[in-house]
């Protein structure tokens, strides 16, 4: 299959692995963050760490959209769903994200009508089919899904649909990366840049990372060879003492992004002054809200919102995992009280979440054994 088989060739992976290893300076440790949860998923699904020398460590970033939604926003969504004649729609992954009083499934058991959809367009379709019900779309995601929400609002406006609104929780990746760069907890050597977010925003927004923080960035595709080649390009930059933004995923990502999508977002939405991220706290200008012009489609304007901030459960260490400070298995409840079936924290909910990726692809056992033997030698 084009773009798939050719990027999963084991011989080429081994060749890349050898080239990466040849660039390692003995005694030096390298720490690269893969920003996007999709990359985390690929790394563990295909066992890419096994292709890397031990002194290269991959750190998982905050780029899982479900994982960064704070509990208070889940509670707000359930509050909207409890209003009379309201039908809430949501991506499947959000259904199991716990709020302070349970998740969307629990809420449905108590009488709300929260349905899973694949896209906001499906939500709009439900609104057309149910003119006596107000349909709210629980919008989450980075710049990959924001264009879809924006276009759906534009379609709803063009059609004059009055029983549809969006509970907007879209976030933007650049402020989160900056928050991580400013965090004293973590020292990184470079970034594997998000691929599909960059399809929309392009590569230029990452230039400050190379210029101001002197860290290399390689925007990467999602196949195993994409990620290995991106690591190779990062190592080459470090070996050459360069800090640049490079586009490994040029077969999909235009350097300037998708201007039509950016215009659609700009027409419908604007930056919020601040937004709370799970684990990262409040980050200024890091999320989108509906513009006043489209307030009829803004669930936060249509309904009164409690907007109460809810602290994460004490046992949950998703914040440290999202910042890359802790490995998933180092969390006290990983794999015991917190599993994909009964998640306590968001990182265990989505397959893109670092904890779920570790849990599903067996890193739990391997890493524990490795660490145990390491401790024995201390």
């Amino acid at each position: 299959m084009r773009f798939v088989d050719e990027f999963r060739d084991a011989d080429k992976a081994r060749a890349l692995s050898a080239k990466i290893t040849s660039l390692c300076i003995p005694g030096r440790h390298y720490k690269f963050m893969e920003v996007c949860g999709g990359h985390t998923h690929t790394i563990y699904k295909h066992g890419l760490e096994d292709y890397l020398p031990e002194n290269i460590q991959l750190v998982h970033g905050p780029g899982c959209p479900v994982c960064v939604i704070p509990m208070g926003r889940v509670d707000d969504a359930i509050h909207i769903a409890r209003q009379p004649d309201v039908l809430m729609t949501s991506f499947g992954d959000m259904m199991r994200v716990p709020g302070s009083g349970g998740n969307f499934f629990d809420s449905n058991a108590e009488g709300t009508n929260i349905r899973m959809v694949y896209s906001p367009l499906d939500s709009l379709k439900i609104a057309r089919q149910n003119p006596d019900t107000h349909v709210v779309f629980m919008a989450i995601g980075f710049e990959t899904t924001t264009p879809s929400t924006a276009m759906t609002v534009l379609r709803a406006a063009a059609e004059g649909i009055e029983n549809f609104s969006v509970f907007c929780n879209h976030v933007t990746i650049i402020p989160a990366i900056k928050a991580i760069l400013d965090s004293p907890d973590l020292r990184l050597d470079g970034f594997i840049g998000p691929g599909h977010v960059s399809t929309v925003i392009g590569c230029r927004p990452y230039e400050f990372i190379a210029r101001d923080y002197e860290k290399p960035v390689v925007v990467s595709g999602f196949e195993p060879l994409d990620i290995l080649q991106s690591i190779y390009q990062l190592m080459l930059q470090l070996a050459d003492d360069r800090c640049e933004v490079e586009n490994q995923y040029s077969r999909v990502v235009p350097w300037q992004g998708n201007p039509i999508a950016l215009n659609a977002i700009g027409e419908v939405m604007e930056l919020r002054p601040y937004f709370e991220w799970r684990g990262l706290g409040f980050i200024s200008h890091s999320a989108m809200r509906m513009k006043e012009k489209y307030s009829a489609f803004d669930a936060e304007q249509v309904f009164s919102m409690p907007g109460v901030r809810v602290a994460d459960p004490k046992a949950c260490q998703c914040g440290e995992v999202l910042k890359g400070v802790l490995k998933p298995w180092e969390c006290k409840v990983f794999g015991t009280a917190c599993t994909p079936e009964t998640p306590i924290g968001t990182c265990m909910v989505s397959p893109e979440g670092a904890c779920a990726a570790y849990y599903n692809f067996g890193r739990f056992n391997r890493t524990r054994v490795k660490e145990a033997s390491a401790h024995e030698h201390v």
């Binding site: 996007c36 959209p65 991506f91 893109e352």
Partner: protein, 88 residues
Amino acid sequence: MSTEPTGTGTGQDPGHCHDGVCITCSDTAVEVTIIAVHELEMATVDTGQGAEEVSIALVNASVGDTILVHAGEAIGVVGANETSAQEG
């Protein structure tokens, strides 16, 4: 993108979508080929496991093109500015 027949709003568990990949941002660049273009900038695409209808309002694409779809919206055309990514 997901290749599950979703979007029906039936309340059934979507099973985390195709290939265990997150439904939210559909991180795997599975090729989706346009097989028909409709009015209102919609298109029918071949996902390899069936046909789906998606929006192509944000891309310049036509029948036969491979597009990258997120949450029902095409955000890029695969291979449009292709250069070799396998030089390593």
